[in-house]
Every structure is written in C-alpha cells, then in structure tokens.
Symmetry: C2
Subunit: 203 residues, 2 copies
Amino acid sequence: MTQLPSFLDEPDDTRGAIMKATYDALCKHGYSDLTIQRIGNEFPKSKSLLYHHYDSKDDLLLDFLEFMLAELEGQMPAYRDRSADEHIADIIDRTFAFGSTENNPHFTQALLELRTQAAHDEAYREYFTRSDRFVRKHVAHTIQSGIEQGVFQEVDPQETAALFQIVFVGTMTQRVTSDDDDVLRAGRAMFDQCLRARLLRPE
Amino acid sequence: MTQLPSFLDEPDDTRGAIMKATYDALCKHGYSDLTIQRIGNEFPKSKSLLYHHYDSKDDLLLDFLEFMLAELEGQMPAYRDRSADEHIADIIDRTFAFGSTENNPHFTQALLELRTQAAHDEAYREYFTRSDRFVRKHVAHTIQSGIEQGVFQEVDPQETAALFQIVFVGTMTQRVTSDDDDVLRAGRAMFDQCLRARLLRPE
DNA sequence: ATATACTGACTGAATATTCAATCAACTCCC
DNA sequence: GGGAGTTGATTGAATATTCAGTCAGTATAT
C-alpha cells in the first residue's frame, strides 16, 4: 500500500511530470548517480525535452528542490481550533511517522539526499536554512500559544522549536540510513516522556 | 586552528595515505562529485596505484567507510572512573560539539555524505546499522550504571540511548546542511532541560 | 504559417578501468 | 657473495563507457 505521494500522482502538466520523473529517478539511483538520462528514463517524453524546459541539469534540480520544499511546508498541519498540546502531539506524531512505511518513505529519502547536497552547495543550503526557519517559526508559535493557554510551562519557544527541529532531521536521517526500526519507536517514547516532564503543566 | 584529524595526519603506510587522499577529496568535492581522478590528485602517488590496492572505486569507498566508522567508534569517550552523570554530560558535550568549527567540521561532513549513501546502498546501510548499535549500547550501559548508582531516575536505558542517537544524527545533519548556527545552541539548551527534568534524580 | 512541444541522433569532455612496462626489494640456489 | 628468478609497488598511456548538452528537424495546435 505504499504508494506515490498524491502530489506526484498523475501530473497533468509537463512540469509535474518532470518533477515526478526526477523524484522517481532520485529514489531509484540516489543523488550521486542521478543523471539526465535516468530522469529521462522515468519520463514519458524524451530526454531532450528536459532541456526545452530547463537550461541545465542544475537548473532542473534546483527547481525540483523548490518543489519538494513547497510540498514539505504544505504538509505542516494547520493550527485550526485545537488546543496547543493537541497540535504539538500531532506534530510529534507526524515527525515520527515521517517516512514510515505507510507514509511515503521515498519522499523522505529524496529529501535527505537533497539536503545532504547542502553540505557543498551554497544554493541548497540557503533553501534549507529558509525552510527550516519556516517550520521552526510554526512550532515556536504553537508553543507560545500553549504557554498563553496555560497548558505548557514557561519554556523558551525558540529553544523548544529548535529541539523539535533537531529531532525531526534526526528522525529523518535515522529512518532513511539505518535498518534498525526500533530506534525510532524507542527514541520517541523517551522524547515523549522528556517533553512531558519539562513542557506539560502538572494538573 | 581547524586542522586535519590527527588520525589522518602523516600516514606512514599506503592504505593510510589513500584514506587521507579520499578524505581530502571527499571534503573538497562532496560524494557526488568524488572521482578516482580527484582522489588521485590528493594522493602523492599515481592514480593507477589505487587500482593496485582496490578492485574498484566502490571497493575503495567501502574500505574508507569502514575506516571512518572505526575512527568514530574510537572517539567514544571511555567510561573510566567518573560518575554516570558526568559521563553523560561529556557525551552530550561531544554530541553538540561534533563538527563544530573547532572540531573537524569536515569529518562530520564526510561522515554525513557517506551516511546518506545508505539510503540506496545496502552495504552502507549495514555498516551504519552496526555502528549505531555499538554507540547505543555504550550509552545505554552508562544510563544503566547511573540508575544503579542512584543518580538517574528509573528510565528505560534502551529508549534513552535511542533518543541520544536521534539527537546525535540530527545535530550532525543540521550542522552540516544549514547556515543557521543558533539552532544547535538553542536545541541543546532545551535538550539539557528536558533530560534534567526526566533523567536526573531530584536531590 | 507560425510558434511551441517534442524527438533521435550526435558530440566532446569526463570517468572508471585496464594494460604494458619499470623498478626496487627479496628469495633461493651455487 | 652473487646471479637468477620472483614478487609487489608504481607509472603513463590507452580503452571503453557514460554523461551533459546540442541540433536539425518533425509533429501539433492555434
């Protein structure tokens, strides 16, 4: 039942099709073995067409990165009418479910492969720095609300969000690069306990 | 003052020299742009010699991975005669210092680049799965001691070690792939607080 | 008929790998 | 002790493959 992310299913426009092809090729071969040829192979149209829509391989991949980050940010759950602790619980759920067998493991893999390029590529690093900030702001804001609502103790929202960020990328990296599936389950259990101990207001 | 890791300084044997050359080339160009030619450029001897010692590029890189993991495991601080909470504090220190500007940022970068290959390379994944287990066992053992010594509350050592693992890879990934240097500082502050709240026995 | 989407064949550069040939050291026999 | 054979380290040049990018031209839709 592990299917293609919906946002890539049956793309109608050419760009969508190219994104899907890139996604498939990236998952199949990994970033370091990702070639225009291989993207072309996953693409219903011809390889040359890619150059009709993009100036270069770099150009294409940068657009793909933008596409992926937009999707990631779009997955951020809306605050809506829940209480802050329910919302935080949801975020934790999603953090640890991110990339699990039921939920697009390949999306996570692709994202990590892109992310690692940031080690050497200035442009990539800027994208991720920006995207991280967006996510952290969202989390910090939720924490802040929780404090105001009186459900959380008085913690520093920025620092808390930063820890969430670290745990998020840690989960992602761990899931994609290790076979040991118990680490995430166990780590989450302890993370829950720790957060409860520090964050939740005793009733 | 950010110098070469000592374990790569002035290698006397050929293998050591190849490892150093590979390390240098990897840091300089990144995994996806790592070529035999470039390794050869960092190598005092000729490029062809690499094939005398290794069957293929893959073969060489796999040996390099083994080399790096051995080094990583060797960096694990010894328990010695300290109390468990001092030792844990040391581990946290090292976790968040890992790859910081003073401490071989390139080593961390290289390690992450290798690690990401595990996403689509079975052999790499096995190596990291094993290495992770080694580190977790060490941490779990320390926690266990702490509980027996009465300095820690009764937590599950496996779960605690798992959280350490996630935070460790998260720190590593974050440091290498983002420009925002405050995340680690802030995340650590909150992690300290959370751990204290859950782990430390109130005096 | 014009522009836009699209294709398959092609190219030069880069890349991994191989090869034929030195060279230095070591062994073994007399 | 010294020559003859063996082995491993080393090299520069050669080979086969892969890759990003181009181009001349075909289809298609307006």
